[in-house]
Each structure stands twice: as C-alpha cells, then as structure tokens.
C-alpha cells in the first residue's frame, strides 16, 4: 500500500506561524481521531465520544475546529512552538515545513524493531514574510485567513475521498494503529517532524536526528 502524501503551502507573517500550523494540524487530526475504544468480550467494542471546540486565532481572521482534548492540543503546541523557534533562529529566508505523518506499527521479530509504515503524510510548507506597516499586517490577517479557509476545504476534500484507512484492530493490536495514550480521544498513530530550509535550499533537518533516536530507542 502506498502512502498518500498531501502538501499544503502557506505564506504567513512571523507571528502567525503558530496559529496557522495549529489550524492545519488540528483540522487534520479532527478527521483522524476517534473516541476511545472500549473492547468488550467477543471482539466487540464501543467508541467514546469526541467533543469539538472552536478556536479563534489572535493574529489571523480565522476560526478552526479542534477536538476537545487538552493533551492533544498541548502536544501540538509544543512541537509547533519548537518549529516556530527554529524558524526564527535560522535567520535566512524563513522557509520551513512541518510534516504530520500517520503510520501503522508492524511487529517484527526480535531483534528487529517494529516497523513504522506511514499511510498518510501531510506536509505544510511555510514561508515567513516580514511586513513593514500596520496596514500591510491588517491585510495579511485577512489574506491568511482566506488562505487557511482554502486549506481547510482542501483537507476536507482529501478526507472525503475515503481512501485507505487502517482497518479497525483487535484489542491486542490497537496500539499498532491508534495512539491510545490520550485520556479522552484516540487519534491514529502519528508523528510530527519539521525541517528548516536555509537560504541555499539545502535542508537542515532535525528529523534525521529524531528518526535515528527513535530507532535506537526501540
């Protein structure tokens, strides 16, 4: 099975980076999260309820919907914060991208570690612009808001294609498909990484380091 890949691009002002990324990531995760599974005997299970909440952006004329899970929100905010800092510290053009990857774990025999097989990857490319006047910033607020509306429509369109989704797992395998660590919702297993592109176009990745760390950590 091939991993499907979607790429979105946004141009934002420095202070809009966080909110724009959160908006996109949360919109994707809204569609890729279910309620908590409760397995009963004989292979039946019931699903908990997912709540949603509206989030108004402070620097963009935009409101997005996210699942009501503070844990998930915190996790996303943490990594988006790191991305924003990395972007800021890199100097240069302010080009970077974040990847949200949904994967399945496939158990391998010892001594090989479990394989992580991605089945969907969302990449958001960010271009940070610097604006001089307040008027430009105001226009940027509205423009970025409109752009994000388009992105949400794109995301929904992809979701609506009903392409491959991992099949619902048995109780023993639920951790290979879903992230069961959260208290109130259950997103598909995902990982988020980012990379900053410096001025020369070569990528300075933190993901490589992270991947290596993950593999070694088993």
């Amino acid at each position: 099975m091939n991993c499907r890949s979607e790429v979105l691009e946004v141009s934002v002002e420095g202070r809009q980076v966080e909110e724009a990324m959160l908006a996109v990531l949360h919109t994707v995760l809204l569609h890729r999260s279910t309620g908590k599974f409760h397995y009963k005997k004989e292979g039946t299970y019931s699903i908990g309820t997912v709540g949603t909440q509206d989030v108004d952006c402070d620097f963009i004329d935009f409101t997005y919907v996210r699942v009501s899970s503070d844990e998930l929100d915190r996790a996303l905010r943490k990594v988006v914060g790191e991305f924003k800092d990395a972007l800021r510290n890199s100097g240069g053009d302010g080009l970077g991208q974040m990847s949200l990857e949904f994967y399945q774990k496939k158990k391998s025999r010892w001594p090989f570690s479990d394989e992580c097989i991605p089945w969907e990857v969302w990449t958001v490319k960010v271009h940070v612009v610097a604006l001089a006047t307040e008027q430009e910033r105001q226009i940027c607020r509205e423009k970025v808001g409109e752009k994000l509306c388009e992105k949400v429509i794109n995301i929904v369109e992809v979701m609506n294609r009903h392409e491959y989704l991992p099949k619902m797992p048995m109780q023993s395998e639920v951790d290979n498909v879903f992230d069961t660590g959260l208290r109130d919702v259950q997103p598909y297993l995902y990982k988020i990484s980012f990379q900053i592109t410096d001025a020369l176009g070569t990528s300075v990745t933190t993901t490589m380091r992270r991947l290596i760390k993950d593999t070694l950590a088993l």
């Binding site: 809204l30 039946t44 004329d61 109130d184």
Partner: protein, 535 residues
C-alpha cells in the same frame, strides 16, 4: 430501486440517515449562532451521542428539522436544505448560504452499513464542523448583533439557489456511498454581498430590540447576542410546546465488532452486531429519558440573552443611531409564537420591557460535559430589563439634543434631562446643562459646527472661535471630539494623589498586604501554570 440490502440493514440505514440529517442541521445552525461552540469529549460512550460526536441538540432546531422532513428522508429529488440568511435592522434580508443534503442514484452495494457507513457519516459530520467555519457567512454570523441577525430556514424538496445572487460558489463537504444511493452534503454560498439595489422599507419595526444601554456592564461580555431563528413567512403556530425528545430518540449504535485478523477487512458478522443492540436499547432508554427531560425543562426558545454588546469599535456608533430610530413597538410582534416553544425572530427582545422577565433562555443544561458557549443566565435578563425600563423615550431626548446644537459656547439654559442618566454611549460627554456665564459673550459665534453645545469650562483662559478639532466629524452625536477635548482639558486631581486620602488608603493597603500575600502563596501553582502558558 433494487438492492440486495436486507431489511435490518435497511432499517439501520434509514435510522442513520435520519439522525445524520438532524445532526447536520444542528451543526449548521449552531455554527451560525454567533458564538464559539465547545463540547466535551467523553471516553465512555453514553449511547446517545450519535456518530460518536458530541453535538448538542437544540430542541427547537430538532423540532423544525423534523417538521420540515415530515417523516421523510432525503432521497433522489428530495433534498433537505438549510437556508442561512441575513436580515438587517432595517428589514432588508439576503440569503447567504444554502446547505444541501442530497441523495443521488449512485449506489455502493458492497458497503457495510453498520460499520463503514456509520463511520463515514461521522467523518462527514466532522468535515461539516470544519467547513461551517470557513464559509463567509461564519464571520458575518460572529459579528451579528445590532445591525443584523442571521436566520435559518429548513425546507425539504427541491433546492432553490436563486436567492444567492450571481456567481455563487459551492463547496462540497463530502459524500458517503450507501446501497440506497450516495449521500452528498454541500454548500452553495453567496459571494456578492452588496445589498439589494431596491431597498424595500418594510412597515414592520426592526426585528430586534434596540439596546441603547450599550455599555452597561454585563456578566458575559464576550458573546454576541443574535442567534438564528426560524424564518417564517406564513403560518406561525402559537404556543407550541416541543414534544419531549424521548419519544423519537433512538439509540445510536456505539458498538462495533472487530474481525479476526485472518478475515477480510470490515466484515461484521450480524451475530456480533445484533447481540449488543437489544441490550443497548433496553438499558439506555432510561438515561436518555433523563436527558430528554432536561432538554424539555431548559428550552423554550432559541434565544439567548444579549450579552455585552459592542464587540467591535464599529458598534460604537450604531446604538445611538438605532436609538434615534427607536420605536416603542414591541419587538416581540415579529416573534413567531411568542415565548413558549416558539422560535423567535427577534432574539434580542429581552432587552425590552416586561417580556424580558418571561424569558426562559435556551440553555442546554449539559447532562454531562459542559457546553462552553457563553449562555447568559437569567439574571442577565433582569439587568437588561431593568435598565431598559429606565429609559422612557430616548428618542425624544435625543431630539432635544439635536435641537440644541447651536454653538460651542452658547449659554442656553437647558431643560433637558441630564444625559448622564441615559445609557447612550458617551452620555457623559453630551452637552450638559450649561450654567456657566462666562461663555456667553461668544454667543452664537458659529452656527452648527462640529462642536455642539459644550459644557462650558470654567478654566477657559481664552476662547477659541471655531474649534474644529482635527478628524472630528459632525456625526449624529452632538458630543464629539471637540466637546471631549474641552471636557477633559482640566481633569480633576486624582484622589489617590491627594495627601490625606492617599495616606489613608496607603495604610489600609499595607494592612491588607499580609492577607493578600497569603492568598497568593496558596495559588502559586496556578500562577506558575499561567506563566507556563505565556511562554
């Protein structure tokens, strides 16, 4: 049409489509209420959350939807449509969006009803949640208030897109294939927001109560007041009490079955599926009755108490404008069936008159999980009604003000009510009674000018002749920048700076310091957490 679908699956599918339609309407209408929606996740299934999503049911909306459906389901040629329109305070209205739930002939015979269709409908609802926030009408609805309200109307049958103007755009929310056809959910929205060229001034009074206590402190300052109402042209039923939800409440499927890994994907054996169902049905009737009951108690109308108004700076000008046009006609006139059970056209009426006392607010008492939308409590009603009662006829008073606008330093005795008692914006700055003699010589040096009758300033050392401050506009308000300037040229001394009072309060402050410190120390954790969030 011919299908291989068996009767149990057919029944399930019909049930799913029915509740999907009801939930769709709820999501759309709630997204146009003008406030942020927040529902809680619950890890344990309650059995009453259809499609595993926490979407509250506003009883009036459910009632309207069921009425429109009249026992039918969306089918080919028969679509369920939710029309969102905007109506201004002057009576102009404009259709903004039409959301359509349709069915077409393309069938997917292989699909599993109880599992795949259900989950896909759930996904479609999530998409709807996301899309309802990105169409242009969302931002309009968040700003509804004084100038306009957003209304909804549900109808069943053929889609009518004529009212959307030229060049409307469509966005498809999603589709779900079923053995009976493909369910499609889409939205057509207007992009040309210019108003109708021929304005029809209706005889009917403005639909919303005009609130001139614009800056009265309200308990819930954040939410805008207006909410969609049932837009009706004929046949208003009166005194309808909504049937309790439970008679038609059905159990939603929350139990699924996994297949052993060796079998093919998504096979759900009937045995597995059906076994839990009867159990669920029986045991869950009871708690749902409780839920239904609480809905019944707490709902009477789809109206929220107008919370603090004046969200944006643009609002500042308007209350007075409307006040000038205020009529005492009871806004409830336009309301559909009065208060009980009706869905009002004028959700802002609680601001006026005795009606406010009878208002019961449509709060959905959350049985579990909090509904985070700010629903003002009934005490807000009281505040509003009290403050509105105080105003006799602001219209008259304002007329007086306008008449007075002769010159900046004219000293004319004014027999008008001190405007500070009126709750119009900047009432304090309005030309007050001028009892000062010193301004007299200036007389009517200038006629109507931007400087309306200003309260003379005893500290005037010199007199300005034509005081037209920069950027001031001769607006509807007689009090303006010029007046403001003059008012505040010589502010009184701060009381805390005066020695004796200062000393007193200092002493008190020092005394209370230890207590304050103790309290703060107790809350250290909270402060730390707060600081964390700032970083």
């Amino acid at each position: 049409m011919e299908t291989d679908i068996n009767s149990q699956d057919r029944k399930d599918l019909d049930k799913f489509i029915k509740f999907f339609a009801l939930k769709t309407v709820q999501v759309i209408v709630q997204a146009r209420l003008g406030e942020k929606i927040c529902t809680r996740s619950s890890s344990s299934p309650t059995g009453s959350d259809w499609f595993n999503l926490a979407i509250k049911d506003i009883p009036e909306v459910t009632h309207e939807a069921k009425k429109a459906l009249a026992g039918q389901l969306p089918a080919i040629g028969r679509s369920m449509c939710v029309e969102i329109s905007l109506k201004t305070s002057e009576g102009d209205s404009m259709e903004l969006e039409i959301w359509c739930l349709e069915m077409n002939e393309k069938c997917d015979k292989e699909i599993k009803i109880s599992y795949t269709v259900y989950n896909r409908l759930s996904l479609l609802l999530k998409s709807l949640l996301a899309i309802t926030r990105v169409t242009p009408a969302y931002r309009l609805s968040r700003k509804q208030g004084h100038e306009y309200v957003i209304l909804y109307r549900i109808y069943f049958g053929e889609v009518q897109l004529n009212g959307l103007g030229e060049g409307f755009q469509t966005v498809r929310v999603g589709t779900v294939g079923t053995p009976m056809g493909t369910i499609t959910l889409s939205c057509a929205y207007r992009i040309n927001l210019a108003f109708m060229s021929t304005r029809q001034f209706e005889r009917t009074p403005p639909i919303m109560g005009i609130i001139i206590d614009h800056f009265v402190d309200r308990p819930y300052p954040s939410s805008s007041p207006m909410h969609p109402c049932n837009y009706r042209t004929t046949g208003e039923d009166t005194g309808v009490t909504y049937p309790s939800v439970e008679d038609s409440q059905e159990v939603c499927t929350t139990s699924f079955s996994t297949s052993p890994p060796s079998q093919c994907v998504f096979t759900v054996t009937k045995a597995h599926f059906q076994t839990p169902t009867p159990v669920v049905t029986d045991t869950l009737r009871v708690p749902m009755a409780g839920l239904a009951f609480s809905h019944q108690l707490s709902s009477s109308r789809l109206s929220y108490q107008p919370a603090a108004l004046g969200v944006g700076s643009a609002d500042l000008a308007y209350p007075v404008v409307f006040a000038a046009g205020l009529n005492t006609t009871h806004p409830h006139q336009l309301m559909v069936p009065g208060k009980e059970g009706g869905v009002p056209l004028a959700p802002n009426q609680p601001a006026h008159g005795a009606q406010a006392d009878q208002e019961r607010l449509a709060t959905y008492t959350p049985s579990d999980g909090a509904h985070c939308a700010a629903t003002p409590s009934s005490e807000d009603t009281e505040t509003v009604s009290n403050s509105s009662e105080g105003r006799a006829s602001p219209h008259d008073v304002l007329e007086t003000i306008f008449a007075r606008k002769v010159g900046a330093f004219v000293n004319k005795p004014i027999n008008q009510v001190t405007l500070t008692s009126l709750d119009i914006p900047f009432a304090m700055f309005a030309p007050k009674n001028l009892e000062l003699e010193d301004a007299d010589p200036m007389g009517s040096l200038h006629s109507d000018g931007s400087s309306g009758g200003s309260s003379g300033n005893t500290h005037d050392d010199f007199v300005m002749i034509d005081f037209k401050p920069a950027f001031s506009k001769d607006d509807i308000l007689p009090m303006d920048l010029g007046t403001f300037y003059r008012e505040f040229q010589n502010p009184p001394q701060l009381s805390s700076l005066s020695i004796d009072i200062g000393a007193q309060s200092m002493a008190e402050d020092l005394d209370s310091l230890p207590e304050k410190l103790a309290v703060h120390e107790k809350n250290v954790r909270e402060f730390d957490a707060f600081v964390e969030t700032l970083q």
